[in-house]
């Protein structure tokens, strides 16, 4: 039986075979519903409301009986009043008849704020493609050479540094006879590595363009660069359109494993996203997409495989072997990427299963392998990547921080989007909070237009640190229920929580709280990160960190002091803790603008030593020690003055 399903407020609709779940249908129709657990029925974030009644305009009758009965997972995730109001979880609810479904604001995946500007970096402009203008000897009855032979001879004669084995891309050959005559035997050839003619234009054309793209699990960031000046002309970004198939890399890999053509669909989706970005960038700069002659892609290992249409299944389980580690040069047309048809797509190398080209990009941007100081580089995304070392020795690992640090698995967690609480301070005496939401410049005031909707990653780090500093939670993460504040209370299940925002000050109509469960989720995530760093330091043979570099958007927004107070990473002088923004994107740009950086990338990927920290013999012991705030054993001299002020709980 096919049923008519309409989603509000987007108004998107489709005729659907009964039996599909609302989440599946929403994905098919391109409606982004939050599903951090990727439909495994664990997170309870995909709440939707089944509207009841006859809707004349839509020509359908919607009723709660048109969906499958309430499941156990829903009974746990939904409040009784929500069940009465016909709220259901989209992942659990099967379609049995015509439906009008309302997606509430809290369930909508909203546009994320992306940090597109990294720090200023020195670079040498030495791209992989160059343009050469030549005047050819016209064909005549005395000169029977082919057009290509003629072009090659002229190029080699005029530019002696070119590779003698000069060749021409097939697609360029197709238009070669016409182009050389159009230009009256004067043409500009675009050469890749001074060896392959990948584009040919009549007359003299100087401008050359390239695009660098960081394909993140959540966000795709793209930069259009001028290959002559090294300048970034335009930048743009979008949500990774694959997000509808799962929020994290594992759920995408699983989607590929469980669905026929799943891999092909995800591959196609991200290529379309890349093409959209390239055409938006080109349009904004007044150029043609075919004028883009070179591209560099960086991604995590899973996004690498999926974007290149390589089966990622085996990378999703031990021993996490990737299909290939070496860097790749692939013709744009082989991937269906619309730039110059003969253009090349360079993909930086993979380090190990969960340490991908994006981490290599961070390394060529930050260059720890060229430093005396021992750098700790932490790239916190959906998966955390850590590098430690200097020019003597460099180690890396990945750690399963889970998405808690980005706001998932947190009761009122959300992405960094308007309405998210991003900064929090607590008054140590009254225990009253002050907070800022994204979209408003100042501390919260009742008259402001954007009300609080949830808490994003930086806000969570802040509130946990503040609760610890004010004694609301102790070093083990336990609430002190002796404190007298209306904000400290027990929830319906008798579990402690702190009310950060009262219902009337929110846009969601309920109190925004920080629960004992949230504290535990952050403890697990921060312990994973801390232990990853610590084990690398131990392997390197030191307990000293000279500097900490926080890469990624998340690292740019978190309060460094709060991060150290909860023990997100080992003790370090706060003045030496720097946020560098999207260093992976910067590395991609560097590799686009300077071909030597591609060589450097392969070299550093070859020397770096990957450590699978989770299988280290004392991982569990170290992990348990790292659960406490800031740590059970390790000292934090640089913030000791803050720790000293924490009120001790009266027994």
């Amino acid at each position: 039986m096919s049923c008519q399903v309409v989603f509000q407020p987007s108004g998107r609709r489709g005729m659907i075979e009964s039996g599909s779940t609302l989440l599946e249908v929403a994905r098919e129709l391109g409606i982004d519903i939050e599903s951090p657990c990727s439909g495994t029925k664990n997170c309870g974030k995909c709440k939707v409301k089944i509207e009841e009644g006859y809707y004349e305009k839509l020509g359908l009758t919607s009723h709660i009986s048109h969906v499958s009965p309430l499941t156990e997972s829903e009974k746990i995730a939904l409040q009784p009043e929500e069940v009465r109001a016909n709220y259901r979880l989209a992942c659990c609810t099967q379609i049995k008849g015509d439906l009008l479904v309302f997606v509430p604001e809290e369930s909508r995946s909203t546009q994320q704020i992306v940090l597109e500007t990294g720090k200023d970096r020195l670079l040498q402009v030495n791209p992989a493609v160059h343009k050469y203008f030549v005047k050819m000897i016209p064909a005549s009855m005395d000169d029977h050479r082919g057009d290509f032979d003629r072009l090659k001879a002229s190029l080699l004669a005029q530019y002696t540094h070119l590779n003698q084995e000069l060749s021409i891309d097939y697609t360029v050959l197709l238009s070669l006879p016409k182009t050389v005559r159009q230009g009256k035997w004067s043409v500009t050839a675009t050469l890749w590595k001074n060896q392959v003619i990948i584009a040919l234009e009549p007359g003299l054309v100087e401008a050359a363009y390239g695009v660098a793209i960081d394909v993140g699990t959540t966000t795709v960031a793209a930069y259009l660069c001028d290959l002559l000046t090294g300048k970034v002309l335009q930048q743009d970004s979008m949500m990774n359109p694959q997000i509808r198939y799962g929020e994290d890399v594992l759920s995408r890999i699983t989607y590929g494993m469980n669905n026929d053509n799943g891999l092909a669909i995800m591959h196609q989706t991200v290529i379309e996203g890349i093409n959209t970005l390239v055409s938006r960038l080109s349009e904004a700069s007044g150029i043609n997409v075919e004028q883009v002659a070179d591209m560099v892609l960086v991604f995590n290992s899973a996004m690498h495989h999926i974007a290149l249409n390589i089966d990622p299944s085996y990378m999703g389980r031990a021993p996490f072997a990737p299909a290939i580690r070496a860097s790749l040069d692939i013709k744009a047309r082989d991937l269906g990427i619309r730039i110059a048809p003969g253009g090349n797509i360079h993909c930086l190398p993979v380090e190990a299963g969960f340490v991908g080209p994006d981490n290599v990009a961070v390394l060529i941007a930050e260059e720890p392998h060229k430093q005396e100081k021992r750098m700790l580089i932490i790239d916190i995304g959906t998966n955390g990547e850590i590098d430690f070392g200097n020019k003597e020795r460099l180690l890396s690992t990945s750690c399963a921080t889970g998405p808690a640090l980005e706001g998932a698995q947190i009761k009122f967690g959300m992405r960094a989007a308007p309405g998210a609480i991003e900064t929090v301070l607590l008054d140590p005496v009254s225990l009253e909070p002050r907070f800022k939401v994204i979209g408003e410049a100042n501390w919260y005031h009742p008259s402001q237009t954007i009300k609080a909707k949830g808490i994003c990653g930086s806000g969570i780090i802040d509130i946990i640190a503040e609760m610890f500093k004010s004694g609301i939670i102790d070093t083990s993460g336990k609430f002190n229920m002796q404190l007298s504040s209306p904000r400290i209370r027990r929830d319906a299940h008798n579990k402690p929580e702190y009310v950060l925002v009262w219902a009337e000050e929110t846009s969601i109509g309920s109190d925004i709280t920080v629960t004992q469960g949230d504290v535990r989720a952050i403890q697990l995530a921060k312990a994973a990160l801390y232990v990853g760093a610590k084990i690398l330091m131990q392997k390197w043979g030191t307990n000293q960190v000279d500097s900490v570099t926080l890469a990624g958007a998340f690292g740019s927004y978190i309060n460094k002091e709060s991060a150290l107070v909860i023990g997100l990473f080992p003790d370090c002088d706060l003045a030496k803790v720097v946020a560098v923004g999207n260093a992976a994107g910067d590395g991609a740009k560097l590799a686009l603008l300077d071909a030597d950086k591609r060589t450097d990338a392969q070299a550093v990927a070859d020397i770096i030593q990957f450590v699978e920290t989770a299988v280290e013999p004392d991982f569990q012991t170290q992990f348990i020690q790292a659960l406490n705030f800031p740590h059970s054993n390790d000292t934090f001299p640089h913030i000791q003055h803050i720790l000293d002020k924490i009120p001790t709980i009266k027994p």
Binding site: C37, T40, G316, R317, A400, K478, Q523, V615, N628
Partner: protein, 220 residues
């Protein structure tokens, strides 16, 4: 010292996660000639129940739970030192084969469940992590275990749980074992879908489920 006082001391030692106190009380129990099973069930196990409840409520966390289990085990070692293997086996709640599934290397969750099961009187065989599907079945048959317990921490490794059930059926031994699974991405729906017997959302729930499965098995 009175028997009741010793039992209370055993309980308190676990609740307060005090190894030394647990050992002291255990030695007193032995000296007073208290039945080992009674010392465990009426003393130590009660302490563990308190801790489990506090863990469920969020009042204590993983480190405290493990400390309590250490105190429990230290006392059990002393109390049961004089018992023969046969006596120990008779006192056992059941034999559990525990593992982290093939392709998965994260095992802290599994280790917590293991510790809690041991502290609840189960005999445990731990195969470690990334254990091949066939190996799990082979070992289960060899050791004649009552329960196969496995955890998967990634959506990509969950299928191994289904594969274990399939191999058990192929070998014609499915009805000899109770199979229970856990892990962050695992759910009751998944358990039902693949035909396993029980799902533990938390460590304490896993223990309760294991006890219920044993009651079912021994009753059957």
């Amino acid at each position: 010292m009175e028997k009741q006082q010793i039992l209370a001391k055993l309980q308190k030692a676990v609740e307060e996660m005090e190894n030394d106190l647990a050992e002291e009380a255990a030695n007193e129990a032995v000296a007073a000639g208290i039945n080992p099973q009674e010392a465990i069930s009426e003393g130590l196990a009660k302490g563990m129940q308190t801790l489990s409840q506090l863990f469920d409520d969020g009042d204590v966390f993983v480190p405290q739970l493990l400390l309590a289990a250490e105190a429990f085990e230290a006392a059990v070692d002393i109390i049961t030192a004089a018992m023969s293997a046969e006596e120990k086996s008779q006192a056992s709640q059941g034999k559990v084969l525990i593992h982290t599934v093939q392709g998965d290397i994260h095992d802290i969750g599994k280790n917590i469940v293991k510790t809690m099961l041991a502290a609840s009187g189960f005999e445990i065989i731990d195969l470690g992590r990334d254990v091949a599907v066939e190996e799990v079945v082979k070992q289960a048959i060899e050791h004649k275990v009552d329960i196969i317990a496995g955890s998967a921490l990634m959506t990509t490794t969950m299928p191994a749980q289904r594969d274990i059930i399939s191999v058990l059926k192929e070998e014609g031994v499915r009805d000899q074992f109770k199979v229970m699974y856990g892990g962050a991405p695992v759910s009751q729906e998944w358990i039902e879908k693949i035909g396993a017997d029980a799902y533990g959302e938390t460590a304490t729930e896993a223990i309760a489920k294991a006890i219920a499965l044993m009651a079912e098995k021994r009753g059957a």
